[in-house]
């Protein structure tokens, strides 16, 4: 019993990756959200009838959790859209919370009522991560479309805190809220909460009314931000939140483990020991991708999981990236390349410029 949690997660992840055990599952319960952030990669409106009709039922999600659990899923993320928009969230989570997973929930926190908070307090997930889009009604409104969201999110945070639920705050960095980064860090510290930020914004994954490219930071600004985290957050460096799949092993450069010769484009856990299940029922390697996809609700989880392995193995490695002198500083990965360029193996101008800027900044600071 001497192993620490981190050590245990690392051991399990390493072994699961090797043996292709689906250790980490991510269930995107809905694509709908009560906010309308323009940088979101999947966002339908809260009352979108068509989207509602294509969502999978509570029963189906519960069954999926059961099947994935039997196949070895230990870590489970419930996310959206906004999960608390689902009328049957309690039915889903109530069952899942008894199945023996280490469960996380992502939410914007604005739909948390005293009743929901106390219900969650009686069966808390391991952690709830709340996204904050600004530190004033004005900024929050500019980024998410609704100024009232600010007070509601703060209320949600305090309600969940009062239940003793383990919370983490995250900020998605965009042009409209970058000036609030220090205030955000102060707020997290005042509340005694861990915090992190999402630094890479992907072009949208599927057709919806967002245009992330117009909202995200320019490569120049982002590279500068990365260089000066202490200045922008005022004090300690926050954790970076790439996403759940990578979050468990982000300390080292991801490329340390990447074997280019193996013809495997994924250096992360995607499709090896982690999977994403989209709101309409596709099994994909990660949140950014809606293809390659397998179909667990039609064919069963195990079949879909092995189909996904086969599909992932046919994804090409980007030859230019694998030989690129900037690889160590670059944020390239198959999903990002695909969303940026439409191809898995085509360098993305945004990422190339970012890598050049990061490299230049590090060189100027003589860290290289």
């Amino acid at each position: 019993m001497g192993t620490s949690w981190v050590q245990l997660s690392e051991t399990l992840t390493g072994r699961a990756k090797e043996k292709r055990i689906p250790l980490m599952g991510q269930f995107e319960l809905t694509s709908r959200c009560n906010l309308q952030c323009k940088m979101c990669y999947v966002n339908n409106s809260a009352s979108d009838i068509q989207a509602i009709s294509r969502e999978r039922s509570a029963k189906e999600w519960i069954q999926l959790a059961e099947d994935a659990g039997r196949a070895g899923m230990l870590y489970l993320l419930l996310t959206g859209g906004e999960v608390f928009l689902r009328q049957d969230f309690r039915e889903i989570y109530g069952e899942i919370s008894l199945m023996g997973f280490n469960t996380h929930i992502y939410t914007n926190g604005t739909l948390i009522t005293p009743e929901i908070a106390s219900w969650l307090g009686q069966r808390p997930p391991s952690q709830i991560e709340i996204s904050l889009y600004g530190m004033s009604p004005d900024t929050y409104g500019k980024v998410s479309g609704f100024t009232w969201g600010y007070e509601r999110a703060l209320r949600g945070i305090d309600l969940l805190r009062s239940q003793g639920i383990n919370l983490k705050l995250r900020m998605t960095l965009v042009q409209g809220n970058i000036h609030d980064s220090e205030r955000f860090a102060e707020f997290a510290q005042e509340r005694g909460l861990e915090f992190g930020y999402v630094k890479y914004i992907s072009p949208r994954r599927e057709g919806c009314n967002t245009y992330p490219e117009a909202e995200r930071l320019s490569p120049e600004l982002l590279a500068e931000f990365e260089m000066n985290l202490d200045k922008h957050f005022g004090f300690e460096e926050p954790k970076q939140f790439e996403h759940f799949a990578l979050g468990k092993a982000l300390d080292a450069s991801p490329f340390d483990e990447w074997n280019v010769e193996s013809c495997d484009p994924f250096y992360c856990t995607a499709g090896k020991c982690s999977f994403w299940s989209t709101w309409d029922g596709k099994l994909t390697p990660c949140s950014l991708l809606d293809s390659p996809a397998a179909f667990p609700f039609e064919n069963g989880f195990l079949k879909a999981w092995s189909a996904l392995q086969a599909l992932c193995s046919s994804i090409p490695v980007c030859g230019k990236c694998s030989e690129c002198p900037l690889l160590q500083e670059c944020w390239t990965c198959p999903a990002r390349l695909k969303n940026e360029t439409g191809f898995f193996d085509k360098p993305a101008p945004y990422l190339c410029e970012l890598a050049q800027r990061i490299h230049g900044n590090l060189k100027a600071a003589q860290k290289l």
Partner: protein, 87 residues
């Protein structure tokens, strides 16, 4: 001795892991990793077992000296006790 309700022992990727479920996460938010013999003892303790039952199972399952087995069992029980895992 009996382990509290609300813990699930799972075998994942050749490891034994105990996960708190439902309400239990309030007081224990984390995972416990067990060795194979730890998992054996845990399974016995889930249903309630005395030291001699545990010893019997250990001796039955493993080629181990009685003294060493007993020391391991006491160690294991102490750790569980310190973590407040017994009823």
């Amino acid at each position: 001795m009996k382990i509290k309700e609300g813990f699930m022992l799972r075998e994942i990727a050749d490891s034994w892991v105990v996960v708190p479920v439902g309400k239990r996460v309030v007081e224990f938010n984390g995972l416990i990793s067990l060795s194979e013999s730890g998992a054996l003892l845990w399974q016995k303790l889930e249903n309630g077992a005395a030291e001699e039952d545990l010893l019997k199972s250990m001796l039955h399952e493993y080629e181990i000296e009685e003294d060493a087995a007993l020391a391991d069992i006491r160690d294991f029980i102490r750790t569980l006790d310190e973590k407040g895992l017994f009823e």
